[in-house]
């Protein structure tokens, strides 16, 4: 498959998935009704059943957009982290952003704060965890800086996990625990337009530096000495990338909870198709990430009488893919 064909195929698949996601569900909307609705929205005159319009615009619309935003953001952050840590097997939460966000959210639920405050706490917790990991990791001198960061991330992540477990034990099993569990598995079920309004600018703010620095990002994939000898101030570049990727991940986690595997598996799949050059890789990873999460979320809300959290389905797809990847990587080397 040529590179252009890969982008076209991913974009076409995404477009088709969007149409499917708008049509299927407890109240099916036909493709014709969708087209008429689009036509009416563009200023044309068309008769659309009000219920169909309300389902598409108010219920499915925000949810579809959220899936696209979260999927693309997690994939972009994963692509950046994998390039930066020179390791295709790291995920966006390598520096503890997910555990930090989870602790923030669980704490807010435990304190019975509102939905908005829970999201704010998740976002702040994610940023705070990464800032802490980064501050400690950067002080561990005399070690490989990347290894120091990763190890600090693992250690702090474990500590935050213990704090979350403690809160789960202490939480009210009838009222709070279901909300906590639901949040830890991720869900796009209760997305409201204002969630998107809050998360989208943050995710875009993270995306801009990645797009601008796309060539330099490649050099972070070289051994540290070489990147510096080629003229890159690796420390400041790494700081910018960590900040950008963390912002995108934290924004996603704050509205959708913890949805694993997307940021780990999608960048790798994209790299298999277009190679490691960040400028080519990033757009494809975002397209695939958006399509993957939209597919998973649409399946999750239609295949069973109860909603299946997207994190469960991404794990079902991600685990075999990951193992296959591992086996294939061994075969190559």
């Amino acid at each position: 498959m040529t590179r252009t064909a890969a982008y076209v195929a991913a974009a076409a698949a995404l477009a088709a998935l969007i149409v499917v996601a708008f049509s299927v569900g407890r109240y099916p909307v036909s493709a014709r009704e969708l087209l008429e609705l689009l036509y009416a929205k563009l200023g044309g005159r068309a008769q659309v059943p009000p219920l169909a319009a309300s389902v598409v615009l108010e219920i499915r619309g925000p949810r579809v957009l959220a899936a696209l935003l979260v999927g693309a953001s997690l994939a972009a952050a994963g692509t950046a982290y994998q390039g930066m840590f020179r390791n295709p097997l790291v995920s966006p939460d390598i520096l503890g952003v997910s555990s930090g966000a989870a602790l923030g959210a669980v704490l807010a639920i435990f304190l019975s704060l509102g939905v908005l405050a829970t999201q704010a706490c998740a976002f702040a917790g994610g940023l705070a965890a990464v800032a802490l990991v980064y501050a400690i990791g950067a002080r561990l001198r005399g070690h490989d800086p990347l290894l120091a960061l990763v190890l600090t991330g693992v250690v702090i992540g474990t500590l935050l996990g213990a704090a979350i477990a403690l809160l789960e034990v202490l939480a009210d099993p009838a009222r709070q625990l279901p909300a906590i569990t639901f949040w830890l598995l991720g869900s796009l079920a209760s997305i409201a337009p204002r969630d998107l309004e809050a998360a989208a600018p943050l995710a875009l703010t993270g995306l801009v530096p990645m797009l601008l620095l796309r060539w330099r990002m490649n050099l972070l994939g070289l051994p540290e000495d070489e990147a510096r000898a080629l003229g890159v101030e690796t420390r400041s570049l790494r700081r910018i990338v960590v900040a950008a990727a963390t912002l995108m991940t934290a924004a996603s986690v704050a509205i959708g909870g913890i949805i694993g595997w997307v940021g780990l598996v999608v960048p790798h799949a994209a790299r298999l198709v277009v190679g490691p050059d960040f400028g080519r890789l990033l757009p494809l990873a975002m397209l695939i990430g958006a399509a993957f999460l939209l597919a998973v979320d649409t399946l999750g809300r239609t295949v069973a009488p109860v909603e299946i959290p997207p994190g469960v389905l991404t794990a079902l797809v991600g685990t075999p893919f990951f193992l296959w990847l591992f086996a294939a990587a061994r075969g190559r080397s």
Partner: protein, 257 residues
């Protein structure tokens, strides 16, 4: 151009060598010889500003290296590290293009001119045919040549090469040594390290002998590469013989059983 003045070097918290002084001029080739663990790579990393000097100074065109931004250093000194296998499967041409980074703005991507420079660098080493192959999928010797091409794409005035011939077959060793002499003839200053003293005879105008971090001798290869200095560095018996009109080579005495 590149100048070391009573330089002490090492890792944070551990000095591995001191007392190195030299000035490398335009068009000059200097070869660094020394046993494994003798501090050659650490010296090179310090000369490139990748490790801070533990004493003395490194100057580039008279300016203290530490005062120069990394991009400025990279426009003037090219670095050929010891061959590594690479983490990501970048195409060889992409790898070489990365040598252009110091010439690009922070947000820029390499353009047509950069691509031409990279292609010329590949062609000059006879590896144009590898351009689209993944860096991780070629032989160690080919990777070594690709890293040389990347340093040439930097268009530097000084080239620092850490064992550029280490993983090359005989033919490619000769080709790289020949290329070093061509580059010097065109005005580049070249500093390279090797484990083969003959390479100093073949390509260098000066040799720096480094043992346990201390300079043992520095001067014309014919004068400093002697049985006694080689014995002090490597602890083996070696004869230095003259072949034909002024060519020299080292012949180790291998004790017969």
């Amino acid at each position: 151009m590149l100048e070391a003045d009573a330089l002490a070097f090492g890792f944070p918290g551990r000095t591995v060598g001191r007392g190195v002084s030299f000035a490398l001029a335009r068009g000059e080739v200097m070869c660094v010889l020394g046993p494994n663990g003798g501090g050659k790579t650490t010296l090179f990393r310090t000369l490139l500003g990748l490790l801070p000097a533990h004493g003395g100074a490194v100057r580039l065109d008279g300016t203290a290296l530490a005062a120069l931004p990394r991009a400025e250093v990279a426009r003037r000194i090219g670095y050929v590290p010891q061959a590594h296998s690479g983490y990501f499967a970048f195409a060889v041409c992409e790898m070489v293009l990365m040598g252009r980074t110091a010439h690009l703005g922070a947000f820029a991507v390499p353009g047509r001119r950069d691509r031409e420079v990279a292609e010329r660098a590949l062609a000059s080493l006879g590896i144009a045919h590898l351009a689209d192959r993944p860096f991780t999928g070629i032989s160690a010797g080919e990777r070594q040549l690709a890293l040389v091409a990347r340093a040439l794409a930097q268009e530097p005035a000084v080239l620092v090469m850490d064992e550029p011939t280490a993983s090359l077959d005989f033919g490619n060793q000769v080709r790289v040594l020949g290329r070093i002499r061509e580059l010097a003839a065109a005005g580049m200053a070249v500093l390279f390290s090797t484990h083969d003293p003959d390479h100093a005879f073949l390509a260098a105008g000066r040799a720096l002998l480094l043992a346990e971090g201390r300079p043992l001798a520095i001067g014309a290869p014919r004068e400093v590469i002697r049985p006694d200095t080689l014995a002090r560095m490597y602890h083996v018996a070696v004869r230095v013989v003259t072949v034909g009109a002024g060519s020299h080579t080292c012949l180790p005495d291998i004790a017969s059983p």
